[in-house]
Amino acid sequence: MSTTEPLQVRELDVRPVLRAGEEPFQAIMDAVSTLEPGQSLRLIAPFRPVPLFSVMANRGFAASDRALGNGDWEVTFSPVAIAQDASEGLAIGSSPSAISWGPPIEELDLRDLDPPEPMVRILEALEDLQAGDVLFALLAREPVFLFPELAKREHEWAGNFDEAGATYRLLVRHGGGSAH
């Protein structure tokens, strides 16, 4: 699947911005918003940007930093792997960046539909969404025939069963692939 390939770390050096007397925060946030799911950001700054750590943590990135010697710091913000915390137990194939997806803008309860109707509804709903939109669906079983179709249409997904094993919870993030 596309997201399992290692992504190049994106690098942002804010030292020139600061030297020019400008505020780098917006540049950093712009860089973060253009990251591919799963991609990391390496930031180089003339000080240790402690306030940024909590901002990035809220967006699902963990920070690891090291001093470069001359007072400069290099911080790598990596997306938190899903399996590390609350979302442990996501089905294999789930997107590791799901933890940083925004709240779903559409929720579907498809538990009472027999196959393949849930697949039909989800794919229909996705056609009306925009890139980056997140859809949440409750299903009675793992939608194994849906996943290849999501991959083909370049949508990302993350899902698992609830504790009782009765309901499958699925998040799908629109990947921007356009309809015909």
Binding site: E5, M119, F145, F147, A179
Partner: protein
């Protein structure tokens, strides 16, 4: 990754299976085999193996290649072996029938064909087993459903190995067995492991999952389902013991086969209770053709399975045992397979055709692919023939049995024709059909090539792709 795709060769398995069922019915109508010949005569064994291997095993294999990956949410292991396995099974079965025909004296071919047939069949079933076992074990933990299939596959191995040994004996190359008399004492156990284990137990296990899905019924409690597996495995273990007993020099009485049959009947009783509960608790009230047409199959199981150990224990005449076995093979296993083929073929065809189009235009429902009520008429004919045939066999009227198979043959041909029409999207309005070059092919799913035509219209591939 919990992705399932279409099994490429499943439709070819189904087509070959249906051809063998039609052939078996035609052979019976022509008077080949029991009751014209004895139960253990080569002519009967031809019909039995065309039904067991050609029809039921190939249909089961095709269905498992599609549904085992779906039910364990893992891709099929070694998918490239599906075609070699099919070819080995086909040629092995044809060789076996030729060997039996030589034994019957119909043709003058060397009986050395028998061991060759056995080796070819063994190779085919081993390839099939390798794909299925590797797929089942790639999903952890191993589920209850997977255990049904694993036990069934173990029975298949025992069936094929014992069959190969019989083939060696029959061809006169079984001298290495010495004084051990595996034939004919081992035959009931060979048949039990094949019909009861490989075909029966797996039909139990798979139907639990498919019925829950098709009827929107709540999952039956695992404890109850486990009972079916435990008693089924007990019965099959006893059958294996009966098969191997001559090797250990143990004397088992002639009535020993009652024990495995009784355990299997108990498993069948627990299974029947669960299936009844599934039908009653279903949330999808209107039954589709596959579930309607399965009801006579379950009825055949409910009549045939409890009576078989009773008849065996009571020393009933051959005619009764043959009648009950026919009812189970054609009524239960055959009827259930035909009924579910309707759903499996239409679902796979729908998925192959419409999954890439969903959300991007009108798509029919899966059920729209099947011509109703015409399909129901074919099933009525088929089951009427099976019911008449069962009675005719029990009554020992050979000609009545032959005539009884006529409606069954017409029904089967009708069902096969409907399945071809499903593949050709014959029931779908022209505007909902894809362009001709993207229509499903009769025997081969566009499994891998489904990708290309629909990732078009993208100006540039995304950097992640």
């Amino acid at each position: 990754m919990p992705m399932a795709s279409l099994s490429r060769w499943t439709m070819s398995y189904f087509a070959a299976a249906l051809a063998f069922l039609l052939a078996a019915e035609a052979l019976i109508i022509a008077g080949v085999g029991y009751p014209g010949a004895g139960l253990l005569e080569p002519a009967t064994l031809i019909v039995v193996h065309v039904v067991a291997i050609g029809w039921l095993s190939l249909a089961m294999a095709g269905a498992l290649l599609q549904f085992v990956p779906v039910l364990v949410a893992r891709p099929l292991a070694f998918p490239g072996l599906a075609l070699p396995a099919l070819l080995a099974l086909l040629s092995g079965l044809l060789l076996l029938c030729t060997g039996f025909a030589s034994l019957a004296g119909w043709i003058d071919w060397p009986v050395a064909l028998m061991p060759l047939a056995a080796v070819t069949l063994l190779a085919g079933f081993l390839l099939l087993g390798l794909m299925l076992v590797a797929t089942l074990l790639s999903a952890r933990p191993v589920t209850l459903f997977a255990r049904f299939v694993l036990v069934g596959l173990a029975c298949l191995l025992a069936t094929v190995l014992s069959g190969a040994t019989f083939a060696a004996i029959l061809s006169g190359s079984g001298g290495w067995l010495g004084e051990i008399a595996l034939l004919p004492d081992g035959l009931p156990f060979h048949a039990l492991l094949g019909f009861g284990g490989w075909l029966g137990l797996i039909a139990f296990g798979v139907s639990y999952r498919l019925l829950v899905m098709f009827m929107m019924a709540p999952e039956p409690p695992a404890g109850q389902v486990r009972l079916v597996l435990i008693f089924g495995s007990l019965g099959l273990g006893l059958a294996l013991a009966g098969l191997l007993a001559p090797l250990t020099g143990l004397e088992i009485g002639a009535g020993f086969s009652v024990a495995p049959l009784a355990a299997l009947a108990l498993a069948g009783a627990f299974y029947g209770r669960d299936i009844l509960a599934l039908y009653r608790a279903r949330r999808r009230k209107a039954l589709e053709i596959n579930m309607l047409a399965s009801i006579p199959a379950f009825a055949a199981l409910g009549i045939g399975l409890p009576l078989l150990p009773v008849a065996t224990a009571a020393g009933a005449p051959d005619a009764w045992l043959a009648s009950l076995t026919f009812l189970l093979a054609f009524g239960w296993l055959g009827g259930l397979t035909l009924a579910q083929l309707m759903k499996i073929v239409s679902f796979m065809t729908w998925l192959e055709t419409y999954a890439p189009r969903l959300g991007r235009g009108p798509a029919p429902r899966v059920g729209d692919l099947v011509a109703m009520p015409r399909a129901g008429l074919w099933f009525t004919l088929y089951y009427a023939g099976v019911a008449l045939g069962t009675v005719a066999l029990a009554a020992g009227v050979a000609t009545a049995f032959q005539y009884a198979m006529l409606p069954a043959l017409f029904g089967t041909a009708g069902i096969a024709g409907e399945l071809m029409r499903v593949r050709r999207l014959s029931e779908i309005k022209a505007e909902q059909r894809p362009p001709f070059h993207e229509c499903p092919r009769l025997l081969l799913a566009r499994a891998e090539e489904r990708r290309q035509p629909h990732v078009d219209n993208r100006t540039a591939a995304s950097p992640r792709a």
